[in-house]
Homo-oligomer: 264 residues x 2
Amino acid sequence: MTYCVGVVLDDGMIFASDSRTNAGVDNFAAFCKMSVFEQAGERVIVLLSSGTLAGTQAVISLLKQRASAAQNSSKSTQAITGTSFSMAMSTPAEQPSLWNVKTMFDAAMLVADAMREIDRRDGKYLEKSGLEFNASFILGGQIKGEAMRLFRIYAEGNFIEAGLSTPFMQTGETKYGKPIIDRMITPKTSLADAAKCVLVSFDSTMRSNLSVGMPIDLICYKKDSLQIDMRRRFDDGDSYIATLRSEWSDGVREVFSRLPSLVW
Amino acid sequence: MTYCVGVVLDDGMIFASDSRTNAGVDNFAAFCKMSVFEQAGERVIVLLSSGTLAGTQAVISLLKQRASAAQNSSKSTQAITGTSFSMAMSTPAEQPSLWNVKTMFDAAMLVADAMREIDRRDGKYLEKSGLEFNASFILGGQIKGEAMRLFRIYAEGNFIEAGLSTPFMQTGETKYGKPIIDRMITPKTSLADAAKCVLVSFDSTMRSNLSVGMPIDLICYKKDSLQIDMRRRFDDGDSYIATLRSEWSDGVREVFSRLPSLVW
């Protein structure tokens, strides 16, 4: 399983993903599910993936390879750091890629096209084993000249965009961690509070589903900054997560103990 | 959808169920999902149902009809109140029924047999429409001479019993309301606290899933009392539920606001 959350606020965006992948309980591993396409001053695009690893990796590799080809064809410099692609300059290129699409809507279309391409390639072979192409994404960010935007792209490649009434998207094991987000997050919520809320939401999810696990990757993106200044990975035993967990647990118990009992 | 919870504690048991049934969002209604077989001083058996209404109603009707036949054959008096069957005296009878089984395990077997009987009767017709028999139950209570026991019976008729490590069972839309139960309920929890917790769990579930809805039926059973002294139906606008909801919401917000923010 997986748990990914994207939030779009008046002040910025939050992206978070867990790292556990598993094919049965005796076969699990940690893979980063967050891919970042950052071109400082020009665009920040974040992709959170859920689904079978073969499917999501294929889609992301295709997107990266095409983005890389677009960059090479425009002779600009590219720096790859972990799962982040960053570049210093704008790179106009002919082939559409995440480096040159003009809007986040076009970025979502590009991701959907890549998903459908992989499905066309792999789908019929998966079908033979009773499986299906199963990858879905949360895509969000900002391209210069446009507002921040947040999408959820389904396995079929169609997608929805977050709005004022529902400023967040979740994928994977979404239910355990949804009540706290429902209660706390509105577009007016501060970046700091939303980050805190999303981490509490991860804590609730990890308590209830073993197939969602640390490390957690988190990005807080400040509106119009067009670069990522706040990115952090929380590993097992992280002291901030431990503090959140224990203070939240103690606080909730205290609130519960103050609730009036039913009189019969 | 549905939400039902059964809890077995050192001091007693809690049973709770919502009342919403729906076949599409334009076709919903309220049906009580709690059936009680009570024979004061001798047995209290509570059945919470989830699944398609035709399936669960057929199973319960079959169980009630057989219980009634068993009673009539023993010439004792039977009083039917709503979905409660109660009788004043013990009723030994030949045909096994919920009035005469000796243990809660046998009661669970009886429910499972009724489910399989209905499945045999209806299953092949449902199959023609691409449907399947879909009824599952939480069964719990106490029969004189035995400890309190709590079972979850799957649609296939097999079942599991709650134990010290997991003293509760949920069916239906279980995820939204599970974190609070996971945090709060152990076998040592008092009946009053467990009832409160289960109601908070219903509140979280109803906030997140429209197909779970009021009224909520609640029973608190005191260990070894062998009768139900605390049973209540909470309708829309119930003042206790409203208080729980607002105090819980305010309290959780307050705890959240006190949590430390992440320092970058």
